[in-house]
Subunit: 419 residues, 2 copies
């Protein structure tokens, strides 16, 4: 089954608000196995609305429209739909009663434009609005269902969940579709594609893989279509089992878990505590770690040592060491990570020292060069990286890499790491 | 001039990511006076891409496409465009050189799929990608310009701002329209609207004001249309001059300067240094401060004291004080800010202690309660706040408020602050 989502309203087109309705609707439909053919935002004009319907009717099974149903003059959608489907607008008594009750409850006076909201096309199924005044409308033409709903999220969402979806599963046959998202860290998209290329090529026809990169992270979305849930789950589990044998060390979790959540779970499961000593990441690692609810149970604190004197005074790093090797060096970053463990008395720690740019680079130590160290008790692992992009991206990649390396160390899969 | 924005990729259609590119592009184009006809998200298939182009070419002046240009097998856009525009794919030497340099800088080996990204249609204008490997492509057919750009925001945005928009203003006639954005901090949108309501009502007809809120910040975009640049600039300057008399203390800058940049400039101009002592903000203030290039000239370091023992041991806060008043209290946050100044020997400091949630709240000290202190030498100012929203939003608002209060203290406009 295929659906299109149509959003009506100028405030989206001019970039004043982000269309969060479409994402939410898409998530609901996708999880039911409905394939989203297209999402489109159009203006509230007769020509654009009817042109879009002409294009989509017969092409998809379901057109879900939101917006354009308000009481003001610039909301034309209902009139346009009535004309398009050859309907007359008639007062719907139940809708009128709902609107009257809505105003009575709030002690407000109804005006003519509110009363007009009780007018509905005489050939559609009406979906009552339990949280506002504009009802939903459900038309059918050829093989396509066309549903128009209000654009206000707290009116649209219950209408879709409580009324439309149950009616849909009754009326339309909906095929099964299952996904699983595999979260990887530490390998860029193109390398990953090469590492798992044979596995990907060997997937059965009913399965599809998508690469979804973020800084430092690649999400792999594996989809099985046209199978019963049981069979789909079984196939997904088999293929993921095979993938886990190919890149065990790079997979840190499933289904959109964040790396900072994954490390939190790992630390809790092992009863370990964490601290950080950050130079070029400037507190970003601590911020990521503490963005996770409950992180206070394993995260103790950080020292952000932006100046060399802070490194010397707070992390017991001899000034001579900095002078000899430079602040961006294996020696200093390892001393920093040991300093954090000592200072905060934690089981584990991460440390960074690098050049985030745009200034401060030299031929030997260019912008993007970052030393990262991770430690668990007496064990220390450190490595030099060269990250690309602008300052923000270098900080983000270094932060993710530091957390990722600590995860590998604790999970016992760091051995294969090249040093 | 009319434009359509086309986003390519399944991850948007299945609701896994929100399409933030379209909103951002729309804001850029709208502010130049370009009318957005439609925003549409489609799948990366030949049929859907060519069908969408068939529909939009001749209808709008500009089609801006993002996405579908990655190195992996599911990214078909370039091949589809080449075929659609009857082009051969040829190696572009400059693009190849950029890609080779990109890999060399990172010390990584290029593989075949990376090399393929240097192939471009032989009848398009190539837009170099200075932050990634996939170049942009600019085709023309009938009256329509068709531009394909990468979907990764930090690659697409500079390509649009630095290359496409300047070329567009040259090639296509774009009407006069001038803006100035006024950055305010510390007053919620609805209060601000009341404070400046009379001024807004008195604006001449050719000027329009838009409120653009972000956590902790409200941007005021003032637009003058249909005037020559000189006259527009003059009118904008006059109206902003009037606004500065109404809310002098809340305006921290212009034209999308970030609060963390504004404080950086202020610190540099006064020759002052800064440190932070953070509890509930978990390093986010330090991260914001150090996100600014050149911040190492005034930012010395931070202590993130997530546990009480870290506060006691590192910031000279007596355990008795924490026991008596609780960690979230005026006494402790003022001791923290003094501790930071002493420890890092800086001229100024900020400190936070609060409950970011979702757990840990009590009736007396609920989730969202945050004590913030700012200090300059011996002067200390502190205040309790109650922020709303989820954990991330509480941390963000507290961080912005801390930086904003320090700005007011240094700028000498803190006096009017209610305590």
């Amino acid at each position: 089954m295929e659906a299109a989502i149509v959003t009506i309203g100028d405030e989206i087109l001019i970039g004043q608000i982000t269309d969060t309705n479409s994402v939410w609707i898409s998530q609901q439909l996708t999880s039911m196995g409905v394939h989203i053919y297209e999402m489109v935002s159009i203006s509230d004009t007769g020509e654009h609305i009817t042109g879009t319907l002409d294009r989509l009717i017969g092409k998809v099974d379901l057109v879900l429209m939101t917006g354009g149903l308000g009481p003001t003059k610039d909301d034309l959608t209902k009139e346009v739909l009535a004309q398009y489907f050859g309907a007359n607008l008639v007062v719907n008594k139940e809708v009128l009663a709902t609107i009257e009750e809505f105003f009575e409850k709030r002690g407000r006076t109804m005006i003519e434009s509110n009363r007009r909201q009780a007018l509905v096309p005489d050939n559609c199924r009406v979906l009552p609005n339990n949280h506002g005044t504009a009802p939903g409308m459900w038309f059918t033409r050829e093989r396509t269902h066309i549903v128009s709903m209000p654009g206000v999220p707290y009116e649209m969402k219950p209408m879709l969940l409580e009324q439309l979806l149950p009616a849909m599963t009754d009326q339309m046959g909906i095929p099964a579709l299952e996904h699983k998202t595999i979260m990887t860290h530490g390998v860029p998209e193109s390398y990953l594609a090469e590492m798992i290329g044979d596995w990907e090529d060997g997937l059965p026809d009913c399965m599809k893989l998508a690469y979804l990169p973020r800084p430092g992270i690649v999400r792999l979305r594996l989809t099985a279509t046209g199978l019963c849930t049981e069979k789909a789950d079984q196939l997904l589990a088999e293929e993921i089992g095979a993938l886990l044998k190919i890149i065990p060390e790079h997979i840190f979790g499933f289904d959109d878990i964040f790396l900072e959540e994954a490390i939190g779970k790992l630390l809790i499961s092992k009863g370990l505590t964490l601290s950080t000593a950050e130079s070029c990441t400037g507190g970003n690692i601590a911020r990521l770690i503490t963005s996770v609810p409950g992180s206070s149970s394993y995260f103790k604190g950080s020292i952000i040592a932006y100046s060399n004197e802070v490194k010397t005074e707070n992390l017991d790093i001899g000034g001579a060491m900095i002078e000899k090797h430079g602040a961006v060096s294996r020696e200093v970053v390892e001393a920093m990570v040991r300093g954090a463990i000592g200072k905060f008395r934690t089981d584990t720690a991460v440390a960074t020292s690098g050049i985030a740019g745009p200034d401060g680079g030299t031929p030997d130590k260019p912008v993007g060069m970052v030393w990262i160290a991770v430690a668990w008790g007496d064990r220390v692992y450190s490595r030099e990286f060269r990250f690309g992009g602008h300052r923000e991206l270098i900080i983000e990649q270094a932060s993710m890499m530091a957390i990722g390396l600590l995860r590998k160390m604790i999970a016992g899969v760091l051995a294969g790491e090249k040093n």
